[in-house]
Structure formats: C-alpha cells, structure tokens
Subunit: 315 residues, 3 copies
C-alpha cells in the first residue's frame, strides 16, 4: 500500500480489519519492518487521538516518528499553483511536501476543510498536492472530506464487538452548535457501504451527504425508524452539504438518550470523539454500559498499525 | 507505584531518594523495564525542566515518549461534570483522559492553578479527573497545589550534598511581581517535614501556607533568625493563601544576597527555577559558589527516573 | 568537534563534506555512537528543514532527540546580563542553557536576528550565551548571522553534482517583500571562499554583505556578468547590511528565470528554501530540470549527520 486516503485504496477491507485485530493481540511482532524507517506526521489542525494513536502504532512497529505542527512550527503554506508569493504565505506546498519526502519514509497529513468553498474542499487540493509532490507513501490523518483511519478503526470495532454475522449499523446525525466537516460521516458511510453490515443513515432533512459516499445505504429522516433493531449506533454531527457548511435551525431533539436507545437491539453506541457532552450525546449514554467510544478510540492504534505495516512491507 | 502526586504516595522517601542517586550512577541499567512501554506527557502549561528531564528519564529507562501540549495541539478541555457543552470547550476530561490511557502506560500531567478560586484549585479537580478516568499510572508534572517530582529532586540534592547527618533546611520566601502558585513551597514543605532535616519556613506576615503541608515545620517571619546556621536555603516566591493568590505590598528586602548568606552555615542555595534574577535571587548568589540550582535541576532526571522505574516494575 | 557555529569551527571542510557523502551511502553504520546520547533541539523561531533533517540525522546515528520550541513551550528568555527581571522575561538564558546542558549531550539552537540593532545581531549574544553556559557541544541551527548546517549541505551538493574540478559558483541576490536576515548569504559566502570553487557574489548596489564573510569572493552588481559560465547559481534574498535590515526599492528584475539561465553553463540552481515562488524564483526554474533545491534540502540530513558524528566521537 502506497496510499491510504479512502476506502478505495484498500483491496479487502475485511482482511485489513482482521490484520488490525491480529496486531492488537501481538503488537510488537513486526518491529524489524520499521527499523530505521521514519514516519512524519504533519498537522495543519489540532489532533489528540490521531496524533497519539498513529505515533503509538509506528512505535509498535519499531519506526521513528517526527511530528510537525506545520502552521505553528514551520511556515505558512501556499497552495495555489502559479501564485506570485508576495503575500502571507512563505512556502509552497510543492517544496514543503517534496522536502519532507526527503526526510521520512511515510507521511501522514491532517488538513481540515475550510467549509467555505465546497468545490475547493471536495477537490482535496492540499491533500492531493502532498501526495503528488512528496514522493513517499501517504496516510491521511483526516482530509477535507474523509477520515479513513477513523473509519477503519470503526470497522475494526464493529467486527470485534458484533453479536450477529451481519449487524444493523446506523449513522445517526446529532446536534452541534458549530459547523463541523462531513469528513467523518462521509468516510464512515463509504466504509460501511462496503462492509458486511446493514447500513442506515438517519439525519434531519437538509443534512443529505454527497451521494458519492452513501451509495448502497438506506437513508431516512426518521430517527426512530432507523434505530429500531440497531446493533450499532454511530453518533456524529455534520454541517449541511447544501447550503455548504451551514448549521440548520432546530433538530435539538436528535440527541441520543437512553429512551431512544430502548428502540435498538441493545446497541453499542459509537462516536469518533471529541464529543460535546449533553449536546451531541447525553451523559447517561456516555457513562452508561452501551457506550464503546473509548474502546473505539483505543482501536485507532491497531487500525493505524495495520495500514503502516502494509506500507512498510512495500518499502 | 501507580500514582505519584504527593509525598503521601511514597512509602519511604529516603529509599526513593537513594534509588534516584543509584540511577544517577548507572542510568541505563534498567532499559528492559521500559521496552515497548510508552510515557505520555500532557501539558496544560509551559514547561522546560519537567518536560526535558522527564523525557530523558523515560529514555534512560528504554521507554518511548509522546508529548502533547493539549491546549495548543489537542482540544480545549471541559472539566465540569454534567456540563452542557455548548460553549468553547470541545472535549471533556473524562474522554480525553480515558482515551490517552488507551495509548500509553504512564501519563504525566501538568496543570497549574487558576489562582482565582482557592477551593477549586485545592480540590485538584483536573488532576484528580485524569487519575480517575485514564486507567493507567499517573505522575504529577506539577498540579495546582503540589510539584512532587521537584520536591523529590530537592530531597535528592540535599541527601547528595549534605555535610551533616541532619542538616538545617530553610524555605525562604522571595519577592516577585507576579502571583505565583503555592505548589512548589507546599510540596517542598510536606517532603521536608518527612525528611531527616531540621526544617524552617521563613516568610513575611500574610504568606502563611496551608497548614496541611507545613505540619512539623518551624515557621517564622524573621528571615535572619531562620537563616542562622542554615545548611540549605531554598528560595521561592509564592502568592498569599489568604487573600488567595494575591501579591502583598512590600517585602522587597526579602531577596537573598551575599550579606544574608553570611548568617548561614555556608549554605547551599536552592531554587526550583525558572528564577527571576535580581528580583527573587541576586546575580551574586546565582553566579557564586553557594548556588546549586543547576545541579538541582540536573537531579530532576534521577528523581523522575526513580519514580518511573517503580511504576514500570508494577506494570 | 565541540562547536559547529561557523566555517571557522571546521578544520577541513572538504573532508567534512566527503564524510557527509559517505554517510549518505551508509546512513546507519554508526548507531553505536549515538546509543543513550541525546540531542536537544531548541527553537526560538520556526523551522521545517532544519527541524526534520537534524532529527533524522540524529536518529540515523542512534541518538534520542528532544525538541523544544522554547518560546511557546518553555519560558520567555532574558538575555541581558545584570537585568532586574521585573518585566516580561521569566528565565535568564544563563539558567536555561545550563539546565538544558544537564539533560542532553548536544544542543542545537536556532535564533534569528531582530534586524533592528546590527551590533546586537552581529554580536550573536543569544547564541554565544548558550555556548558559554550550556557546558555541552553546540550546533547552530541558524544564528543571527550564520547558517552553517545549510552551508555544509550546500557544499555537499556542489561536491556531489559538479562536473568540473573547480566549478564557478554564483551567489545571486533575489527580490523579496520582507526584510530577511543575512545569515544564509553570509554563511554560504564564507564557506565558498574556503571551497575549491570560483566564487562570485552578484547583488544590486546597496546590498553589500559584511566583508568579514566575503573575503576572496568576486563581487559585482552586474547579474548577467556573474551568471556567464556559471555552473551553480545560489539564489537568495537578503536585506541590506547598511541601512541595516532594510529592503531597498526596485530590483524586481533580479528574479532568476530561464532567459537568464541561458547565459550560464547549464547551471544547477540552488536555494536554501523556503522560497517564494515567482518573487525570488520563477515557477519555470523551480519546476524545470536545472533546479536542485529539493535534492539540496535532502542533503541537509547528511550534513547534520556528519557534524553530529564528529561531535559524538569526542564525547
């Protein structure tokens, strides 16, 4: 694997999830692969889980890790081709990416969307330029439209905890006060559409996701209908795709609570975190027996380790 | 040892200090203990000595280290239980701590007091929530009311440099222009009260420390009296406990200088650093033969290494 | 080698460059040298190449690395001797440097000039205080007036790519909108004046460098004359030395482009990066076959590794 930016970069998602679970049983078995290999983690935005779990995954594989908060520790990046750089940007992504590729064997990049210009965000301009110019393997640490390491950890969690061969999985929109990216729901949707699950997306009218990511999913505006018989409920807020990046008024009653959980098949409740308590998810859910959000975050290590391992095997 | 947050977490402070001095002689003898173990250092506030010495201690033990400036690199933390998180905080400490506990074997946390609300600061809310929710061993990198790694390094320094079996140790308040926490003097006091020393605290009227930390100490408002015959003078500013977090007017003459040092028994001068020159301590002291502040900072490595070693032995 | 701050710290620059090229062929052959040795990288300013390449060099040698953004993660430094520290600075460089020297075996320091007070900048006050007080080996990560790791990487690049025994090397001033330090051109000049090259500096009137650095170079205000027959063109902006730190009006036509490149002997184009595209250097040059800027940045690893190796051999 040279590239891990979406589900389309993976031949067999079930095999990759299985490898992650094997690594969870035997984390240090492959340290020869990472010896004298270096992972560079480049952050244009904050990160806790991704930052720490990907570092830990690399260390488990015997790699060295270098972390760069490029906006704070490096230089303001220019993204526009042909730009006359007489403004605030100091270094073009062409040079930045190419130079980093001289120092590391694998680059991880996090770059959030601006949520202003949909076409620009969905073109994944920054991300694609890193891929184009760095010359080494690239793993997405969350791009403008996808968060594949999270989605793989989610699949791993479902495979690990499911009680039936083909569980019902529901992606349930939740309220928020800020406009959040669609990266996590887009990505979760495109992974679930390829997984051995019955997949339903529930959201209020107006929060339709880009259909490129939801092909094959059942989509409903009726949360109760979606929750009925669910084995896993994946709670997540996102802002509207049209009008792009907007928070629509109302829908506060979409917050999951124990009453709604009763409709489910004693569902495990998932969330990518960070979660705003009592806004997206109630305390009673997060502190109750059905929440698996911390366990899910723990699986981020094994998801990242499976991806890095496959990359190291081809270097 | 699963917890190192105060002197009360230590069975035998003399044995721990002795172990630190043994590690100083043989720093790399225990690298098998740290193999594939990871220390996470979480900073809510700046740090130089603690950051570098604790990293170095972990590396000496063969551990991996991940450093997180959580406020700048991660997410703004919510501390209040039951909060409806519709404001500026993005992640509750319950999730943040629990998730970090998934990625590391030992967590170090630094969290300064706000110096606004004494009850809140002295409840050690942030710190205790980390301990409660992370599920792994926790070492304090300085909390609102204590700085035990500093105090252990101070004890190590006194044990190492003392010329008599039971030296006279004086904690001497010094002037400052800013309101500083009581963490270092509190902590030094509670360690010295348990150590084989004659311990005196000297401060101007109004700077009384919380008596929970000073039980057994001689306390005086007369600096000259305190300094007489002292073997070690530990210079440190702190703000008032009552009125909480205030700098009281006057007392500029409390800065230690060579004239005052003459009263002592050629005392070694200690300070936890950073020190404001010619405000807390004069150039002549810091650049003179009696200052051991750099040596003392060097001992931070061995203090941290002794603590981490005892934690690793129980993992 | 205990100190690497300028060309004057190096006995034989050709031997050092040759060692760098040997390390490029065999990067991991000397890991015994770095075992249990620690490099501390201290940044008072942003850094991408230096930060990553020096880390990578140390890791290749088996060292541990600790990175400190001292202004953001540590404490505001006082530089003035004798200062009464009752203002905004929290720690004197005397303590900061001495304490860091307790935790690491080699310190790298980056400290840019203020470009306000020439005498202060050219005295290298911060840098020299680190050297004076830290007590360990010191490598410059770029000081107010020099960037020797860059210059060594530049020499390595020229040695590696030259087609004639004694190539013609031209340092060509380029336009910029901001006042940049003279560190890179100063340093490149003093290295080239000692190297086996014909060295010419071309800049508009008013951009004369301090002659301490340019002794032996041919200096001209005629860019075309300088470029004629050049084998390497090193493009770089700098602000005026007199009036100090100023950008003089005009000279936009000094940007190198393909037309000007035709005068050269098919010259390789170098730049230390970051480069402002279409201001300092045109897209057509940077994306064309003559640019070696990324290759040159890659050589930063081997330059740093050669220096660190010589330091480790004397520890």
């Amino acid at each position: 694997m040279k590239l891990f930016t979406s589900v389309h970069d993976v031949n067999d998602i079930n095999a990759l999830a299985a490898e992650a679970l094997e690594l969870k049983q035997n984390p240090y078995a492959h340290q020869h692969l990472g010896k004298n290999k270096t992972l560079g983690l480049v952050f244009l935005n904050p990160s806790l889980r991704t930052r720490m779990s990907t570092q830990k995954a690399a260390l488990n594989l015997g790699m060295n890790v270098m972390v760069l908060n490029i906006d704070k520790e490096g230089w303001a990046l220019e993204l526009q081709d042909g730009a006359i750089m007489n403004g605030g940007t100091v270094e073009h992504v062409r040079e930045a990416a190419a130079v980093m590729g001289q120092y590391v064997d694998i680059i991880g990049v996090r770059s959030f969307p601006g949520l202003k210009d949909r076409e620009e965000d969905y073109s994944e301009a920054i991300f694609n330029k890193f891929v184009q110019y760095c010359g080494v393997a690239v793993v997405s640490l969350e791009s403008a439209t996808r968060h594949p390491l999270q989605s793989l950890a989610d699949l791993v969690t479902i495979q690990e905890l499911k009680k039936t061969a083909r569980p019902k999985v529901v992606l349930a929109w939740a309220p928020h006060i800020k406009a959040l990216p669609q990266a996590v729901p887009n990505s979760f949707a495109e992974w679930m559409c390829k997984a051995d699950v019955d997949f339903t997306i529930a959201h209020p009218a107006g929060y339709e996701l880009n259909t490129d990511f939801t092909n094959g999913a059942t989509i409903t505006h009726n949360l109760d209908e979606a929750l009925t018989g669910a084995d896993f409920v994946y709670v997540k807020n996102w802002s509207a795709y049209e009008p792009y990046g907007k928070v629509l008024p109302g829908n506060e009653d979409w917050m999951l609570n124990n009453d709604k959980l009763k409709i489910t098949n004693d569902a495990r409740v998932m969330h990518c975190l960070p979660v705003r308590r009592n806004l997206e998810l109630s305390d009673e859910i997060l502190d109750g027996p059905n929440s698996v959000v911390v366990h899910e975050a723990g699986n981020r290590v094994w998801a990242a380790q499976a991806v890095l391992k496959q990359m190291l095997e081809e270097i």
